[in-house]
């Protein structure tokens, strides 16, 4: 056991792992130029193992970082001498452990979404950049009104990201099951000229689309429009084919038993425990130029009947209830209407990297000061 720990704590392993990490960093950076940030993150930085040319396995960043963590942890038990001379080194490595652990925690829980508001409008629902969900609800079944007078309704939604053709999903409480006929991460939808001799009736769709074709995914994952064709199966009656597409103009209607249900494929909603309304968006320009000096939004935060104004600007986010809203972008319509977009992040343990960084910096400072002091030329 002790020998195994010795092996695990070897500084040679550290060097090898750091080399792997360096390779991943360079490779992933170059890969981004071609394939975009999102794909690079998925392939190199959020993976444990990935395949080169489809068959050679290569360790992903998550795996390398995990191994580094254990290498480091065991080295603290084996190789490290705890004395005044090594205070800096110990501090540095303990800080690194916190940093790695913190990064792991954050990656488990962090949620990123965005919220776009027109001036005068408000919402408590942020929507994901690149995750989509299938949502069904009964129209008219509205439950309560929030501070803005918006109705809330019960929606049954499932994540659309992992669906495979042939898979069946049970919407038990709504009384039907959904079978996936085809599903694409990015698709084009088509309307056909009406064909008199068509063998089967076109699928149900709100926008009149009749078929989908797959498209290569975009560099910017938020631009993908997924779509799929599904069969709605109920206890009685024929299955109904339904086409749901990210670019649909509205929800589709299906009849289940004696009820009519609405269904749509939409960006996954992230509900916030408060409502944000946009009062005013401002953009200041550097005088006499077309270069922006700053962007900011005046919003009202509404929680349980109370409201307060907040100013959100670049580098000045709104933090509330575990959520953070950042000024992210804006849109200006030709008719003067302004929209402001906020990045919405839910993030636990966000202070861990701050603490870890400080500890590591102090450690490095102390370490190199001590080393330089020892190496100084003596007695000239």
């Amino acid at each position: 056991m002790a020998r195994l720990l010795d092996k695990l704590a070897s500084v040679k392993i550290t060097v090898v792992l750091l080399c792997f990490l360096a390779v991943l960093v360079v490779w992933g950076t170059l890969y981004q130029a071609e394939h975009g940030l999102f794909d690079a993150q998925q392939r190199f930085y959020r993976s444990h193992v990935f395949l080169v040319w489809g068959f050679i396995p290569f360790p992903g960043t998550q795996l390398v970082l995990a191994l580094l963590f254990f290498n480091l942890l065991s080295s603290l038990f084996v190789n490290t001498r705890y004395n005044l001379k090594h205070v800096g080194s110990v501090l540095t490595h303990v800080g690194l452990l916190i940093l790695l652990a913190g990064g792991f925690l954050v990656s488990l829980h962090a949620k990123e979404a965005s919220l776009t508001l027109q001036e005068g409008a408000g919402s408590n629902l942020a929507s994901s950049y690149n995750q989509w969900e299938l949502a069904f609800w009964e129209p008219g079944e509205e439950v309560a009104a929030d501070a803005l007078g918006r109705r809330t309704r019960r929606v049954t939604a499932i994540d659309a990201g992992s669906l495979q053709p042939g898979e069946a999903i049970d919407f038990g409480d709504l009384g039907f099951a959904l079978e996936v006929e085809s599903i694409y991460r990015n698709a084009d939808a088509h309307r056909h000229l009406h064909d008199e001799g068509a063998s089967s009736p076109p699928p149900i769709n709100a926008s009149g689309y009749e078929s989908l074709s797959e498209k290569p995914t975009e560099k910017e994952p938020g631009r993908n429009l997924p779509g799929g064709v599904f069969a709605v199966k109920t206890a009685q009656g024929e299955p109904q084919r339904i086409l749901m597409y990210g670019g649909d103009s509205g929800p589709a209607m299906v009849s289940v038993g004696d009820k009519i249900l609405m269904g749509t494929l939409r960006r996954t909603r992230l509900p916030m425990p408060f409502t944000v309304a946009l009062k005013d968006f401002q953009r200041d320009m550097h005088p006499g130029s077309s270069m922006a000096k700053s962007y900011s939004s005046d919003v009202v935060v509404m929680v349980e009947g109370t409201s307060r104004p907040v100013h959100i600007a670049m580098n000045e986010p709104l933090r509330y209830g575990g959520f953070t809203l950042y000024q992210s972008s804006y849109r200006e319509m030709p008719d003067g209407r302004e929209y402001s977009t906020f990045a919405v992040v839910r993030n636990y343990g966000r202070l861990l990297p701050y603490v870890a960084s400080l500890v590591i910096f102090l450690g490095l400072m102390i370490h190199f000061m001590v080393v330089i002091y020892q190496k100084r030329p003596r007695g000239t």
């Binding site: 992933g28 950076t29 930085y45 550097h286 006499g288 700053s294 990045a343 992040v345 590591i360 080393v371």
Partner: protein, 639 residues
């Protein structure tokens, strides 16, 4: 503003060879204004690219944008600008338009110039073609544009800006179309009689009298008009026509108080929009007098007009930082402190080098003094720049080089203090000179004191993240330089273990400094990203570049600990570290845009690849040779 020492001495040689030709004026009438002192003119304030700056800076920026240099025919930018504004014809033949891509030259059917710079006279026949191609290019998606299309657009925009400048004082130019042919009109309007051709402004200031003549014809039919009235109609139409054509031209140099705060307008805009405002028109009159005095070569009148104009601007403009520090900016331009530092660093390097071979202490002492002397203008330049901008020392790519150079020299000074030998002096001279020279490569792309985009507009984060990460760059680059010294020492005299050890110790310490600050800078970058985008780390290229420096240093230190590499290996590793730093510093910027942009950036890409290639060869060769030499000198058993 800038000449490298080599280029300056070359320029002197060229000057001597070409003196007889260079002494003549370009073409046509000799421009008398060339002899005038522009001291009053250069301190006039212009608002451009989002900030207020002295005319001298404006001239430099415009010329840099056109030609990539701050001089034309060895004359300062301000002299060139004064000619463009007041005697535009005299600039027709000056080769100021830099065209980087040979295909653009071919497309415009021009004979290629060796120095890649062309005059307006040469470009003029090709303007319709240039416009056609540039317009087509501007309609393309920016990602679709090739280097040629980008260059076409750039050149076209420059020609447009040049023309805008040329006509921005056109109201002070005599023009035959304003000569009243009719004696009655001339006398009633009190236009200068005889030979002198009136200017637009002569006519415009008498527009009331012209309107009087027109008013008398209110009820006349076209056939009834007297010759005088016909002439009045013609003149009125020409005036209207000119206002329409030129009414929106820059430069904005007159402050106006509007509802939304202060705005700055150009003389043409005053003429077009606010002719009834006597205060503003008085300002334009001063400018008109200024132009007239310039053309007549009257220094006294020229200075008078400029003084009066400046006094009114100083009185009217809101007193903000840019106004308050305009004089300092002028001083900064004039002193050219970084150029002075370059020369002193060059001398420091030479003297430090000499002291390595000299047994006399005095040489070493002198080299140390010289190093401190060189630091003085360098530090003063940085401080002045910070004061003028009200910002930390690093705000754009150009200023990173100036600052990294300064940090590297400061580290060398510490090295000299700790180790008490000349190694630090040599390193200071070399890194100071080379990095300042490099910074010149990046000055042409933008206003070196330019305003910042929204996301960077935070002095706190600029002062913490940006400053610390560039300190990290400095440490790693300097460690690479010391790595070179180590290999050279190993080649020259591998037996001098004491000196080898002292070089190694310096390398170790400096690399440690580099790692510490590169790490801190990287993490502070994460904190900033967390504050403004909501995520600490996103694996984007700039973040990865910074991380790579940290990883590389960490690999070196751990590999040394694991005895994978020895002292020589550390030296080689530090040298390779320079490549890693350059990748993070400028390389990642090329990834996104570099594939499509030409001129400035592609030159950088070429330089980067060239440097990497040469450096790899030198290191591989040097290290192998050094290893062989020490193996030959020390019997294997001793190792």
């Amino acid at each position: 503003m800038y000449r490298s020492p080599i280029r300056r001495s070359l320029a002197v040689a060229v000057l001597v060879c070409l003196l007889p030709r260079g002494a003549q004026a370009a073409d046509g009438e000799p421009s008398r204004g060339a002899a005038l002192s522009l001291a009053q003119f250069e301190r006039m304030i212009v608002q451009d690219s989002g900030r207020k700056m002295p005319m001298d800076s404006y001239a430099r920026l415009q010329l840099l944008q056109f030609s990539g240099k701050t001089t034309v025919d060895r004359q300062p930018a301000i002299a060139w600008l004064s000619r463009v504004l007041f005697t535009p014809e005299s600039t027709m033949h000056e080769k100021i338009f830099l065209i980087n891509h040979p295909h653009v030259v071919q497309a415009l059917m021009m004979p290629a110039e060796k120095r890649r710079r062309y005059s307006y006279h040469q470009l003029e026949p090709a303007l319709p073609k240039l416009q056609e191609l540039a317009t087509a290019a501007s309609r393309m998606e920016s990602e679709q544009r090739s280097v040629v299309e980008n260059e076409l657009m750039r050149v076209y925009q420059n020609v447009e800006s040049y023309l805008a400048l040329r006509y921005s004082f056109e109201f002070t130019q005599s023009d035959p179309s304003f000569s009243a042919q009719d004696e009655t009109v001339r006398s009633r309007m009190d236009l200068p009689a005889g030979q002198a051709t009136p200017t637009f402004f002569d006519l415009f200031t008498r527009i009331g009298r012209l309107r009087d003549i027109l008013g008398e014809s209110a009820h006349a039919t076209p056939e009834d008009l007297s010759p005088a009235q016909r002439e009045a109609f013609r003149l009125n139409a020409v005036v209207g026509n000119w206002i329409q054509r030129y009414g929106n031209l820059p430069p904005a140099m007159i402050p106006v108080h509007a509802h939304s705060g202060e705005t700055w307008v150009s003389p043409w805009q005053v003429i077009a929009v606010a002719p009834q405002d006597t205060g503003l028109m008085a300002q334009v009159t001063h400018l008109s007098d200024l132009a007239g005095a310039y053309r007549a070569g009257q220094q006294l009148e020229f200075d008078m007009a400029a003084r009066q104009f400046n006094a009114t601007v100083d009185e009217n403009a809101a007193p903000d930082r840019q106004m308050a520090y305009a004089a300092q900016e002028l001083l900064y331009n004039k002193l050219d402190l970084f150029y002075r530092a370059e020369i002193l660093y060059g001398l420091t390097f030479m003297l430090g080098f000499a002291s390595l071979f000299s047994r006399r202490r005095i040489v070493q002492r002198a080299s140390i003094v010289l190093m401190l002397l060189a630091l003085a203008p360098h530090t003063a330049g940085l401080a002045l720049r910070m004061a003028i901008m009200g910002r930390p020392p690093v705000t754009n790519l150009y200023s990173t080089f100036v600052f990294v150079s300064w940090v590297a020299v400061m580290l060398c000074a510490v090295m000299v203090y700790v180790q008490k030998n000349a190694l630090g002096v040599v390193a200071a001279g070399f890194s100071g000179l080379s990095l300042l020279l490099l910074s010149r490569r990046f000055i042409a792309s933008t206003d070196p004191m330019g305003v910042l985009v929204a996301v960077l507009d935070s002095n706190f984060w600029l002062a913490t993240h940006v400053v610390t990460i560039t300190m990290g760059y400095a440490g790693c680059c300097l460690a690479g330089l010391i790595g070179h010294f180590y290999i050279i020492q190993k080649l020259i005299n591998p037996r001098d273990h004491q000196r080898l050890k002292s070089i190694y110790n310096a390398l170790f310490g400096v690399l440690g400094f580099g790692l510490t600050f590169a790490f801190l800078g990287t993490m502070l970058g994460g904190v900033w990203a967390d504050q403004s985008w909501g995520r600490f780390w996103g694996w984007d290229p700039k973040e990865n570049g910074a991380l790579l420096i940290v990883l590389w240093c960490a690999i070196l230190f751990h590999a040394r600990l694991a005895r994978y590499i020895d002292d020589l290996g550390m030296a080689v590793g530090s040298i390779l570290g320079i490549i890693v730093v350059l990748f993070a510093w400028v390389g990642v910027n090329l990834l996104g845009v570099g594939l499509h942009s030409y001129g400035f950036t592609s030159g950088v890409a070429r330089g980067l690849f060239g440097y990497t290639f040469v450096q790899l060869l030198v290191v591989a060769g040097g290290a192998t040779w050094a290893r062989r030499r020490s193996a030959a000198m020390d019997p294997p058993s001793a190792a």
